[in-house]
Amino acid sequence: MSESKNFDIAVVGAGPGGYAAAFLAADLGMSVTLIDPEINPGGVCLYRGCIPSKALLHVASLIEESEQAKNWGIEFSAPKIDLSRLRSWKENVVKKLTGGLGILSKQRKVKYVQGRAAFENSTTLRVKKFDGAEETSTFDRIVLATGSRPAIIPTLKLDTPRMMDSTGALNLEDIPSTLLVVGGGYIGLELGSVYAALGTRVTVVEMLPGLLPGADRDLVLPLHKKLEKLFDSILLNTTVTAVKDEGAGIRATLKAQDGSTQEKVFGRVLVSVGRKPNSEIPGLEKTQVKVGPKGFIQVNKQLQTDDPSISAIGDVVGEPMLAHKAMHEGRTAVEAIAGQKVAFEPNAIPAVVFTDPEVAWCGLTETQAQNENREIKVAKFPWAASGRAITFDRPEGMTKMIIDPHSERVLGLGIVGVGAGDMIAEGVVAIEMAALAKDVALSIHPHPTLSETIMNSAEVFFGTATDIYRPKRG
């Protein structure tokens, strides 16, 4: 391993996966160059994704809750929204975090280059810096962490700021009176929620029969009910077949499953139909890197591409396109480069939708178990029986545990409700540690908290939950 410490390594892309890889490589004693078009590390997640959207969602939930406070005898007047201050607050959040990463890079003596990289060969990169200079350097190893970008539907392309992708929506240029969200996935629902809370009348169009395709339906249901109130309408089994710029708005043609169409004018349109890997890296054809049919760079469990000197991580190597997956991959890739015997082989990758209520799950889902014909037991604990949920008047949540009926091992956890995203981590640890339902049931959880519902769901499996009467069947 001592030999590896002298490695000269370049990381292309400074999103969470890229900077995690770069920082670990530096910590292991490698000489590291981190290349990214932005002024500081952070990538889409920090600049145009997770972080700014979470800042805005916090504001949205504040507005929502202050309205709900009426029910508790507290009444506020309608909020006055100073859009430019809201924007600058959001931008400050981003700056604080990305600036912090810049400092961390310096402290670790990572050479941060603002620019774009192109391959000269498997080990040589030509970097076009933003100050106009070009620099060609050779490295022992190169890690590709080029991430992804919003997918575009060709028929929904209009050259107007009213037509937005997630990046445009996060810029928050105005609060349109109406917004059409194309795609009922997590990005569309999160950003749609922000605009709805700020006063926009939101219409969501989803081509599949349910929101958050792929998630267990019982986890989506409470969110769906809430969004039905928050949004103008949720149109399922519906597609947008055409859009037309009418100056004052965008006329969209919506086609329902029965073939009927309707036209409506929206102030803005947000297209959130997924993301595409950024695998069109200039000069990649000069390497042995292989790109798969969906545009993902092909890697093995050590995140190595078909080119022995090139690894790839994060969104550009495959689903799920999540920052925490990318970070773990980045660290694994660098450990592998350092000669450690490692592999990317998680038993659970948590997924979180930061709507209100939040939806989160990890490990095996009920849907997946059904598709695979796997025998499972599902233990559900409704939050109507959670003291904590009642205290803040959000009893619509639910915690469910997917359990192997034979070994009684925890295979999956799903949560819908306030704070689900933070609580799901317990499920990840339980699954990774191969905990049994009994282990979770016998671990004391603090009262009164929502985390108790995880312990409670394990108790439901044994038919002995204190706060709910649900005797074990069969």
Partner: protein, 587 residues
């Protein structure tokens, strides 16, 4: 990614030669589907897959020697799975192959091979026998087909599990075949009078389509044209340069939405890049990493914790046992006859040579005989039996045996004679347990008969010879010999012998020294019987008479059998040939 490893094939079968591969990269396999033919011990077996999915990489080639546990191929894809159920099915029994000429499959190697491309009709991707169809089940040992005498169902008939659905006439009997599925019959795929093979689809059920099995589920076919993609990328680069555009401007337009999969919802956690489709192993991440560091496949480790959880200690214990096994193997003396011999000269110096793989029966014979020879101190006792009278009896009873479907041969008679002799001399029907310092006397008499086939020496075993009459023995011997020639013998039919007879008389010779078939302790060799002048004593004189003499050669394990006993045993046999009456008195 899941690996398919060679499952256990049977007792004492550790490896085999890959005769035929029935899958190619890209082919879809389902659990239970035959994926290769293996020549083991003394039979060719079809090996069914225990995994389902799309074949990714094949790690063996035809002609390879494959050991139990060796990885044959890997599968990938959304459907890739290895259920316990199918694993059990695979372990159940490899299917004996019928002796059809084997078309050679040419494994395709191009990455553009379409899934489901199969080299032979046998390997065609058939839906696994789900609940939607009924296939002819195993009917019994060695029954591979039967004639359909009567069908008891027709389209629309409601069948329940256990309900007889047809009558089948097999070699042995007419049997009623019960259904193993329930539902309404949709289509009947056989007709009365047809020959039906085990595994053949008899009928399908209504509504079976609503529960498609993995193999039937439509799958996306990720066909990647590497060169095409490379070309596209080059063209793209050229376009950028030509137009002077930036990378971002020049990004090609996204493909139109084809399917809902474009949603990058983080739901397909099972399809994370680089992760295999194996079920999560009950071991903490730190333990999994330890396993990697010490070079142990965590999936091989048995967890001792609750729910089968694997601890650090479990991994260490497993690694230790692997190490011990490896060092024990290294320390063990090289196995006798295992090609441990001085280096060969370069034969081609003196003329043209041809090298031929010494596989299957030949290699097994070589190993086995060398082991016998090295283990057993051999002595061969010779004697002669006057079978003049016996020959007359044989000729007289031959039609009777023929009627029953057998052939009254000297070997058949020798079987009966030996079974009687073995009862009188039980130490010839024994084995030596050197480790326990014990002699194992067998309370049964199963005699192997060496058969000369075009594949080499095979030794089918006739069970309980002492309980059968000569006609029965003759019939069974004929059947087994036929099977041996047709490569239909199963490993079971060649196991469990307590004594062996080898008859070279059909070819000639006056005597030879057979090698004992370890772990047996004796073998009787018969040579060509011929007319010889024998001195026959008469009252007041004697004279030479022409007598039919059968030369006998008995090789035995001198560790267990003394020379005098061997002489007595062989004399008893000779006398039994001379006076068949002895059999009924003493045998």
């Amino acid at each position: 990614m899941i690996e398919f490893k060679l499952p256990e094939l049977g007792e004492n079968i550790e490896q085999g030669d890959l005769v035929r591969l029935m899958v190619v990269p890209g082919a879809t396999v389902s659990a239970g589907q035959s994926v290769m033919e293996l020549e083991t011990d003394k039979a060719v077996v079809e090996v069914p897959s225990s995994v389902s999915g799309t074949v990714q990489e094949i790690r063996v080639k035809e002609g390879d020697k494959i050991k139990v546990g060796q990885v044959i191929f890997t599968v990938d894809g959304a459907e890739a799975k290895s259920s316990d159920q199918s694993r059990a099915a695979a372990a159940a029994a490899p299917v004996l192959v019928r002796p059809v000429p084997v078309p050679q499959a040419t494994p395709a190697t191009t990455p553009t091979t379409l899934p489901a491309a199969s080299p032979t009709p046998d390997a065609a991707v058939a839906p696994t026998s789900g609940p939607s169809e009924f296939k002819l089940p195993e009917l019994g040992e060695n029954i591979s087909q039967g004639d359909l005498v009567r069908l008891m169902i027709s389209p629309g008939t409601k069948v329940a599990e256990g309900q007889p659905v047809m009558e089948l006439e097999t070699d042995k009997a007419v049997v009623e075949v019960p259904s193993s599925v329930s539902g309404v019959v949709k289509e009947v795929k056989v007709k009365e009078g047809e020959k039906i093979k085990v595994g053949q689809v008899i009928f399908t059920l209504e509504g079976g389509a609503s529960a498609p099995t993995d193999a039937q589920r439509p799958r996306t076919t990720p066909v990647e044209h590497v060169s095409g993609q490379h070309g596209a990328r080059l063209a793209f680069q050229a376009a950028i340069r030509a137009e002077g555009k930036t990378e971002e401007q020049a990004l090609p337009p996204d493909q139109p939405l084809l399917a809902p999969q474009v949603f990058s919802m983080p739901v397909q956690l099972g399809k994370v890049a680089g992760t295999e489709q194996r079920q999560p192993i009950p071991a903490a991440p730190s333990v999994r990493r330890l396993a990697r560091e010490v070079g142990v496949d965590i999936y091989d480790v048995k967890g001792t914790g609750p729910g089968g959880r694997i601890s650090e200690d479990d991994v260490k214990a497993h690694a230790k046992s692997l190490l011990q096994a490896a060092s024990a193997a290294a320390q063990a003396p090289p196995r006798a006859g295992h090609f441990a011999q001085p280096q060969l000269p370069d034969f081609s110096k003196w003329g043209k040579i041809e090298r031929v793989s010494m596989r299957g029966v030949r290699r097994k014979t070589a190993e086995h005989l060398a082991e016998s020879w090295n283990t057993i101190p051999h002595v061969t006792q010779h004697d002669r039996a006057d079978i003049t009278e016996l020959e007359q009896l044989r000729a007289r009873f031959a039609p009777k045996a023929e009627e029953a479907g057998g052939k009254m041969t000297v070997t058949a008679i020798a079987l009966k004679v030996c079974s009687a002799a073995l009862k009188v001399f039980p130490q010839f029907n024994a084995s030596i347990d050197v480790e326990k310092e014990e002699i194992i006397y067998k309370q049964y008499i199963h005699i192997g008969v060496a058969a000369d086939t075009d594949r080499g020496l095979l030794v089918p075993v006739i069970r309980d010879v002492d309980k059968k009459n000569i006609v029965e023995i003759a019939v069974e011997l004929s059947q087994l010999s036929k099977k041996a020639r047709e490569k239909k013998l199963t490993p079971e039919e060649m196991q469990g012998g307590t004594f062996t007879i080898t008859n070279l008389g059909g070819i000639g010779g006056v005597g030879f020294t057979p090698i004992v078939n370890f772990p047996e302790v004796a073998i009787l060799g018969l040579s060509r019987s011929r007319m010889e002048p024998e001195w026959v004593q008469h009252k007041g004189g004697g004279k030479f008479e022409p007598r039919l003499i059968l030369p006998l050669s008995l090789s035995y394990d001198h560790r267990l059998i003394d020379g005098a006993d061997a002489a007595r045993f062989l004399r008893w046999i000779a006398e039994a040939f001379e006076q068949p009456f002895l059999l009924s008195v003493q045998g």
